[in-house]
């Protein structure tokens, strides 16, 4: 079995499709990621553009989440994790020594699999980021940011009468939209989403997907998802990862009707790899 896996890994030579975009918001080049001495990502190149949703798909353990987490240095929190290669935001290396990861994460926000509101009120959840980053000069400005963020996240109408209620009192779908509002509140440029709908029912999922499409107007969005239908629905480009390599990247329409690589085909059609 180990030999078989190695044979498949060896058979993936480079990435099929064009990894570049015109005027990239983020550029990843020759990215290798290791957990201790185990390599999790092999030499991945990928650009992410403004105003696009790029979906990252692949079987469990393919490295898609690891790769996503490199994009705002979330992996810094794992002591055994080592990232090599270059990852840039607007042409600037996000792993540069003078780069403050906290500031970086304000520019490159992240929404997680499980909604994780703070044990604070709805208002304070959204106000948290603007407060620590000093984005509001006074209470009126802060109110404005919170209301705008909740509106953008499509949650305001549902919570406007109870902004003091704890964030955790909301339903799962509402909590996830609250987390999105919290991410938006610090005016990020890129939003990373790691399985944002996996804990939600189909209606809450549809709401989030609708929101993702609206957010695309203002942000670059990269989403990791296990749901291929979701990738097909929300993204303009799709990247297929397998065993830590980026096998194929292309327009979502092409990937889901006529993928070029056999491994992509096998995965999206549910065939044995």
């Amino acid at each position: 079995m180990v030999d078989e896996t190695q044979a498949v890994l060896d058979s993936i030579e480079g990435t099929v499709g064009d990894i570049t975009v015109v005027d990239p918001k983020m550029s990843m080049r020759n990215v290798d990621v290791f957990y201790s001495d185990k390599q999790a990502i092999y030499d991945v190149d990928l650009d992410v553009a403004n105003n696009e949703v790029i979906a990252m798909i692949g079987p469990s353990g393919c490295g898609k989440s690891t790769f996503l987490r490199c994009m705002n240095r979330m992996n810094d929190t794992i002591p055994t994790c080592r990232v090599e290669g270059s990852i840039s935001l607007d042409g600037e290396d996000i792993y540069a020594k003078d780069q403050d990861p906290v500031l970086l994460r304000a520019r490159v926000g992240m929404v997680f699999q499980k909604p994780n509101p703070f044990a604070k009120s709805i208002f304070d959840n959204v106000a948290y980021g603007p407060r620590i980053h000093g984005l509001a000069a006074n209470r009126a400005e802060l109110d404005d940011i919170v209301v705008k963020s909740l509106k953008r996240a499509g949650l305001y109408e549902e919570v406007k009468s109870r902004l003091d209620a704890p964030g955790t009192s909301l339903s799962g779908g509402q909590q996830q939209r609250l987390c999105i509002a919290r991410t938006i509140a610090v005016s990020p440029e890129v939003i990373l989403m790691d399985e944002p709908c996996s804990a939600l029912d189909p209606i809450a999922t549809a709401r989030i997907e609708e929101l993702i499409d609206e957010l695309r107007e203002n942000y670059a969005i990269a989403i990791v998802t296990h749901s291929m239908q979701q990738a097909a629905r929300v993204s303009q480009r799709t990247a297929y990862f397998h065993l830590g390599k980026l096998v194929e990247v292309g327009q979502t329409n092409d990937i889901f009707t006529n993928p070029a690589h056999e491994l992509t085909e096998n995965y999206i059609t549910g065939r044995f790899g």
Binding site: M228, A232, F256, T257, N258, E262, T269, R271
Partner: protein, 237 residues
């Protein structure tokens, strides 16, 4: 992706569903081929009994179209197929539409053969009709073979044969128009022969469509409404 690997899904039931749909489309192709052969034979032999039989059997083709369509809809709703699976379903939905229309043309051949069985005009054009009919039959057979084998080369070669059919049809049409002008009393019979020639020519067109769907199924490239050379370069890109 030159092969569909329909037996390799993790879900065996999905394998079976797709295989079943494909088999039913092939079966429908076989039935339509029989109908065309029968309709042509009835026409050429002036066999009105066979003609009536063929005409009557068209409902079987229609029934199959509806059943296969339904099976395809179920797979779309329940499985959300992607890539080659999606292309297979789309292809089958389109192929069976063309097959049903070929069935309608065969039904016409049967129906007109009843009217024409005792006409004096039919024997005059039997040779030309036979020639056109054989070309059409062979083209339909090759198109269905290309679909069964998912053979792009053969689909392209078969599609190219439509030009010969169109030429034969044009030649025959001119003869028939001249006949009508020379002997207006026989317009009805000659007109019916024209309809038969037209039905055969249309079968050629539907066969071209099937060939184009084979290219889409195997290569994922849509070559409809393109020239032969454009199609070739699309396939190779």
């Amino acid at each position: 992706m030159d092969k569909l690997h329909l037996d390799q899904h993790i879900s065996r039931k999905f394998n079976d569903e797709l295989e079943d749909i494909r088999n039913r489309a092939l079966h429908m192709g076989g039935l339509v081929e029989q109908q065309v052969t029968g309709g042509l034979q009835a026409l050429l032999d002036g066999d009105s009994e066979l003609g009536a039989e063929i005409s009557k059997a068209d409902h079987q083709v229609n029934k199959m179209e509806v059943e296969i369509d339904e099976a395809c809809t179920h797979v779309l709703a329940r499985r959300q197929p992607a890539a080659s699976d999606l292309r297979l379903i789309v292809t089958v939905i389109k192929v069976i539409t063309d097959l049903e229309r070929i069935g309608d043309e065969a039904e016409k051949l049967g129906r007109f053969s009843v009217d024409l069985a005792s006409s004096r005009e039919l024997p005059v054009y039997r040779k030309e009709l036979r020639h056109l009919g054989e070309l059409v039959k062979s083209m339909l057979r090759d198109a269905l073979d290309a679909f069964a084998r998912m053979d792009v080369d053969s689909a392209m070669k078969t599609a190219a044969k439509d030009a010969d059919i169109n030429q034969e049809y044009e030649t025959l049409s001119r003869l028939l128009v001249t006949h009508m002008m020379e002997d207006p009393r026989q317009v009805r019979n000659v007109f019916n022969i024209t309809w038969c020639a037209r039905a055969l020519e249309r079968i050629g067109d539907h066969s071209v469509n099937i060939c184009e769907y084979v290219v889409y199924l195997v290569k994922g490239k849509d070559i409809r409404h393109t020239s032969f050379d454009e199609a070739k370069s699309k396939i190779n890109n």
